[in-house]
């Protein structure tokens, strides 16, 4: 390894499309300027794609917005320069800045539904992008139609005439991309462009971005928390922590052999390479992200670093080049000692989880359907679901929006009543369809953890009061005894007594979710339904929560119904997986069987849509069309209009039954399993 002069490391290549140099940004919080970016430097060549990764609060979005000089009212660039195509963005007059945004730089945003004006037609908003470039109304209209064709929108005339809310999420994002490309920008910033979209839609949008990159030589700056997306789309990646880039290099290299302790921690916290809870616990990064504006005179990662030395406490590490001119840099004094970083020891009792023989079924759903009625319209949200859940087992539920995952959760918990003819049984006896008809003990036995702990916890109560109420309500224990129980519960969830007297808003996202979990466990439930419990959390926090869930399960033999869109997370935690589409279970089987195949064609497409941080790309199966409305499901197999393997004359005629293709592995498909095996033989690329 050679270490070159650090100053050379960040020199801008003469041809940069975007060049950020020593950028410093502060946010004024209650009158005090707080540092958010502490000297960020990177350069993107024309036609190159550069990703910024890091957990929330690291400054990646601020960097992206600062590149277009769009900061919140309290934000200010206090040092450094941003130049796009040779123009200094920080020094532009307001008039010049408008011109720059109109002609040279564009952005694609996280939530396309909100990024367009809900009251104006798509056409008008798109045309506007062109008239701002000085085109006449008629030219702009022609350009707008061309732009829609360019982003592969079928029937652009019709789309022009729609309002944003009349388009699906994928279409909305295509329109936003078309607007962004209106000026043929030198710099295109993508801020979490697929977050919130379904997996197959996400894959479509990413495919589109890939194709468009070939057609344009715009420099792309991509912000994403999903490292798989960065790996699949970006040439180079910068890892940010506390307002600094701590590591930079070609994406594949950075993700395969990280050279900074933070990157190492981040990658180890991810459930990747098919790791399961029975194999090992996920690594967590000890400590917390420093608050914005805290003084960090030396290494920003110092407090959380496992290999910090005396030197790290006294001197800020420079960004040093690693290797021989491959463009890899790390801001660490001890790159040579990266290998010494130990996996964080965890206490999960793996042996306890590793019981292949599951206990008796605690939950059984038989012929459960749920039909909603809206203006004389019957909307079947759940159709004939049969499921069982063993003691201490985790059943993962995956599927895109509208697949019925949440309805399933609500129906088994009794928040929604199942239609006549279906039954839910707990420990072998039937329970009432609604919670109001269930006994206290039955309610205690089934609990739920929600996606967003912010809205699940009463903001004006202390943690102690929240937990006290749950203990009292669920177990009937009162007074001092309940308090003792709350304290024991909290200790169990690794909440300190200090946390008990705080209110939810004083806690971090991870701690809040711990409180929500403690609430669910207050009455020693038999079954806990987890609805996307970690999707609002950062990777390292997610790891801690997943470990905690696995830990609680091994100890208490609790069964989980685990709903998630993140296949890596489901694979890590679930013993069996149910894949849902339009309210029906399409495939159900042990986790390994579902991931190894053969698969239902929908599962196959879903699995192939997931960008993988390890760079193992499955053969992409593209799905045509949109998810149909549950109110008007297609005939026969509900998946047939989008199924690339559909057999005409069969699939649209009758709905296939859910049949067992191998022991414990069920599929709802007409195609004989031998044939599916044959079709899906193309091996995954390693």
């Amino acid at each position: 390894m050679t270490i070159t002069n650090p100053d050379n490391a960040v020199k801008a290549p003469a041809s940069s499309a975007l060049s950020v140099t020593d950028l410093e940004v502060v946010y004024n919080v209650r009158g005090i300027p707080r540092e958010v970016l502490r000297g960020v430097s990177f350069h993107i060549a024309p036609g190159e794609a550069y990703g910024l990764v890091g957990e929330s609060g690291c400054g990646k979005s601020t960097t992206a917005y600062a590149a277009l000089r769009y900061l919140p009212r309290n934000g200010r660039i206090v040092g450094g320069t941003v130049s796009v195509d040779g123009q200094d963005v920080t020094a532009m007059s307001n008039e010049r800045l408008r011109e720059f945004r109109a002609r040279d730089a564009s952005m694609v945003y996280q939530d396309p539904a909100l990024a367009m004006n809900p009251t104006l037609r798509v056409g008008r908003q798109l045309i506007e992008s062109f008239t701002l470039l000085g085109q006449s109304k008629t030219d702009a209209e022609k350009s707008a139609l061309d732009a829609l064709r360019k982003v592969r929108i079928a029937d652009p005339e019709r789309v022009m005439d729609r309002f944003p809310f009349q388009l699906s999420g994928g279409m909305q994002q295509r329109v936003v991309i078309a607007m962004a490309l209106a000026c043929d920008p030198k710099l295109l910033v993508l801020d979490e462009p697929t977050t919130g979209l379904d997996a197959t839609v996400e894959a479509e949008v990413l495919d589109l971005v890939r194709v468009l990159r070939q057609e344009s030589d715009a420099a792309v700056l991509l912000i994403a928390h999903n490292l798989g997306i960065i790996r699949s789309l970006c040439d180079r990646v910068g890892v940010m922590y506390a307002g600094r880039i701590v590591e930079e290099g070609p994406s594949a290299e950075v993700f395969d052999s990280p050279q900074h302790p933070y990157t190492v921690g981040l990658l180890r916290a991810l459930p990747r390479r098919g790791v399961r809870k029975t194999e090992r616990a996920l690594a967590t990064i000890p400590g917390l992200l420093p608050l914005i504006g805290s003084p960090l005179p030396t290494c920003v990662f110092l407090d959380r670093c496992a290999i910090a030395s005396e030197l790290c406490h006294t001197t800020a590490p420079p960004l040093v080049a690693i290797g021989d001119g491959t463009g890899r840099f790390s801001r660490c004094h001890h790159v040579d000692r990266i290998g010494e970083i130990q996996e964080t020891p965890v206490s999960v009792d793996i042996a306890m989880l590793n019981t292949s023989a599951k206990g008796a079924d605690v939950l059984e759903l038989t012929h459960v359907s749920k039909t909603f009625h809206q203006r004389n319209l019957a909307i079947p949200a759940l159709v004939d679901v049969d499921l069982s859940l063993g003691e201490g087992e985790t059943l993962g539920i995956v599927g895109e929006s509208g697949s019925g995952k949440s309805t399933l959760a609500k129906t088994l918990l009794g928040i929604e009543a199942a239609d006549e003819g279906g039954s839910v049984s707990l420990d072998g006896h039937f329970v009432a369809p609604l919670t109001t008809g269930r006994s206290a003990d039955e309610k205690r036995s089934m609990q739920m953890i929600f996606q967003n702990p912010d809205s699940a916890l009463n903001r004006s109560w202390t943690v102690r009061r929240i937990l006290m109420r749950s203990v009292e309500k669920l177990t009937g224990i009162k007074g001092d005894e309940a308090n003792t129980r709350v304290e024991a519960l909290a200790a169990h969830l690794r909440l300190t007594p200090r946390h008990l007297d705080l209110k939810p808003r004083q806690l971090s996202g991870g701690l809040k979710q711990r409180v929500a979990i403690a609430r669910a466990f207050a009455g020693d439930p038999r079954i806990v339904v987890c609805d996307e419990p970690t999707s609002a959390l950062d990777v390292s926090v997610q790891a801690a929560i997943l470990n905690l869930l696995a830990d609680l399960q091994s100890e208490k033999k609790t069964s989980y119904v685990f709903i998630s869109h993140d296949m890596g997370v489901v694979r890590y935690l679930a013993d069996r997986i149910a894949v849902m589409y339009l309210g029906r279970i399409q495939e159900l089987g042990p986790t390994d069987a579902v991931f190894n195949g053969p698969n239902h064609p929908y599962t196959e497409a879903l699995l192939s849509a997931i960008p993988n941080v390890d760079g193992e790309e499955r053969v992409r199966i593209r799905l045509d069309g949109e998810i149909p409305s549950p109110a008007n499901p297609p005939s026969g197999c509900v998946f047939h209009p989008r199924c690339p393997r559909a057999m005409p004359g069969v699939c649209e005629v009758s709905e296939p039954p859910l049949r067992e293709v191998e022991p414990g592995h069920l599929m709802r498909c007409h195609i004989p399993v031998e044939q599916l095996v044959e079709m899906q033989r193309t091996p995954t690329q390693g």
């Binding site: 277009l68 769009y70 009212r73 408008r98 011109e99 720059f100 945004r101 109109a102 002609r103 564009s106 952005m107 945003y109 939530d111 909100l114 990024a115 367009m116 004006n117 809900p118 009251t119 104006l120 037609r121 506007e128 992008s129 701002l132 309002f163 809310f165 009349q166 936003v176 607007m179 209106a182």
Partner: protein, 317 residues
């Protein structure tokens, strides 16, 4: 669209029926002898009985109720107990007067408040914003009869620029009428200024922070273009709702203002009718106000539908 209107009108009819019933119930449970009330304490009992018979007060309550409903649904409220004049000749002129006053108040307050709200939003947390917000708070927390009395003493008594008795003489020209009406209208306008301005400010601020405003800015539009083309449409919906609810309120007459200026609008008419137990007049006036409420909220909903395509498409189904 027409189905939507029919549905709304249907529910309006039901609401009016409920309102009429409530008025009837309230009036019926009041312990009073209408004949005695009208004829005074010294009239012979036979005359009182005869009057009560003629007015139908000796009939079973259910018959009285049905009669009252007939009056409501034929919009013929009978004759005033006190003056004997047809009720419609009392309440419609009062409505007309209230309408003039309310209209003038709206013309005075709406443009100013919306403009002030927009300015405050664009200069959020700056001095001009704080000035507008605090002024609005102050004006909307002063009761309208207080500001009316203050304005009266300043403009009508001290400077003699307006009239202390706001009823214009018959046959007055529009300009003359304005002379009579502008001071009470100003009192009403001041009361609403703060409310509307703050509502507008909040709407504009939230639209300014929206993602679509960001998109527009990033397209390279100037802030005034963003405001005109993208923000206003979305920001004004809550303000429109507030205005429409106020229409009904203003028509109902801000009784305080009407009393201070001795203006015989709908509010004063109701007040007098309550005092004299003039049930037909009271019933007519209350229902009129109810109808105006109904139409003003319907108008607001249609206007919001016009501004918001999502609502519009829902409505036109």
């Amino acid at each position: 669209m027409s189905r939507y209107l029919l549905r709304r009108l249907g529910s309006a009819v039901i609401t009016l029926w409920l309102l009429a019933t409530i008025v009837f119930v309230v009036v019926s449970v009041l312990p009073s002898n209408v004949g005695r009330q009208i004829l005074g304490p010294f009239a012979p009992q036979e005359q009182v009985d005869a009057l009560n018979h003629r007015l139908g007060f000796d009939r079973p309550i259910i018959i009285q109720y049905l009669q009252s409903m007939r009056r409501v649904f034929t919009l013929n409220f009978g004759e005033s107990y006190t003056s004997g004049a047809p009720v419609n000749d009392v309440i419609f002129p009062a409505l007309w007067r209230s309408g003039k006053l309310a209209l003038l108040a709206f013309i005075m307050t709406i443009p100013v408040s919306i403009l002030a709200g927009i300015i405050a939003a664009r200069r959020q947390d700056k001095l001009s914003d704080r000035a507008i917000v605090n002024l609005g708070l102050a004006t909307s927390s002063i009761p309208e009869f207080v500001s009316a009395a203050v304005l009266l003493s300043i403009f009508c008594v001290h400077w003699k620029l307006g009239k202390a008795f706001a009823n214009p003489p018959d046959g007055a020209t529009i300009v003359q009428q304005l002379q009579y009406l502008w001071v009470p209208a100003l009192a009403m306008a001041i009361t609403y200024f703060g409310y509307l301005a703050r509502m507008t400010r909040a709407g504009v601020i939230s639209a300014q922070h929206s993602d679509y405003a960001r998109t527009a800015t990033m397209k390279g539009m100037s802030s005034s273009q963003v405001m005109r083309r993208h923000i206003m449409r979305n920001a004004l919906a809550p303000t429109i709702t507030v205005i429409s609810v106020q229409i009904g309120y203003l028509f109902g007459g801000i009784i305080g203002v009407e009393r201070v200026f001795n203006y015989s609008g709908l509010g004063s008419t109701m007040l007098i009718a309550v005092g004299k137990r003039d049930i037909p007049v009271l019933q007519g006036a209350v229902l009129l106000v109810g109808i105006i409420y109904m139409f003003s909220t319907l108008a607001a909903d249609l206007l919001i539908a016009a501004l918001n395509p999502r609502v519009r498409l829902e409505v036109s189904k």
